[in-house]
């Protein structure tokens, strides 16, 4: 099974770019990488998903190197409301068996 590892916590200031990296050394060929955001007492919320190279949407970018053993979530110009826990998820299917492995989460604190 792919094991995902993330930093436990990060601090940043408003207006800065934040990069959170997830390591998934045993990622399989069919696996996708997804990032979620979670606020206290709420369920996780989808941010972005990718398979390789770079993906960008209106809130974030996801960078995945060629070997796919890590991925980096980039949040441009964070605000106080971005204070949350961020999770990476590696998910895939092999011979009809599915796996969904979440990282342990990175607690981001945005300071004024």
């Amino acid at each position: 099974l792919a094991k995902t590892t993330q930093p436990i916590s990060m601090d940043s200031y408003e207006g800065q770019e934040v990069n959170i990296t997830c390591s998934h050394n045993n990622i399989a060929t069919n696996d996708y990488i997804t990032w979620y955001q979670q606020f206290p007492s709420q369920g996780p919320r989808f941010i972005i998903q990718g398979y390789k190279t770079k993906v960008t949407n209106e809130v974030a970018s996801l960078f995945i190197p060629a070997d796919r053993k890590s991925s980096t979530l980039s949040l441009p110009r964070v605000s106080l409301s971005d204070t949350a826990v961020y999770y990476c998820l590696v998910a895939g299917a092999t011979s009809g068996t599915y796996k969904y492995i979440f990282g342990t989460g990175t607690r981001l604190k945005v300071l004024a």
Binding site: Y36, P44, Y87, K99, T104
Partner: protein, 115 residues
């Protein structure tokens, strides 16, 4: 739009008792999931279902069972609760089959305490 509805919101349960956590979605998604979230361990998959009538085991299935009689409902049953099952339980759903490359939508969670 309700999305994913979980019930109850919280529950205190005596050890040894049977408990069913309910999950209903109104998005007609094929795939549904149950996760547990524990401090320091993140979210761990208990069971999943790719379509009505099928289920699969996740990372931590022991002590739990699920059924998927129709598209909308995916109940999670603890046959005989133990204190180690104290956790926050999240139900989720996603379109398509398997959901490995699609967005998952999560409920608000059920906080279960087994004493």
């Amino acid at each position: 739009i309700a999305g994913i509805t979980q019930a109850p919101t919280s529950q205190i349960l005596a050890a040894g008792r049977r408990m069913t956590l309910r999950c209903t979605q109104d998005m007609r998604h094929n795939a549904m999931y149950w996760y547990r979230q524990d401090l320091g361990l993140g979210l761990r998959l208990i069971h999943y279902s790719n379509t009505a009538g099928t289920t699969g085991k996740g990372e931590v299935p022991d002590g739990y069972s699920v059924s998927r009689a129709n598209t909308d409902d995916f109940p999670l049953t603890l046959a005989s609760a133990v204190p180690s099952q104290t956790s926050v339980y999240f139900c989720a759903s996603s379109p398509g089959t398997g959901g490995v490359n699609t967005e998952a939508f999560f409920g608000q969670g059920t906080r279960l305490t087994v004493v």
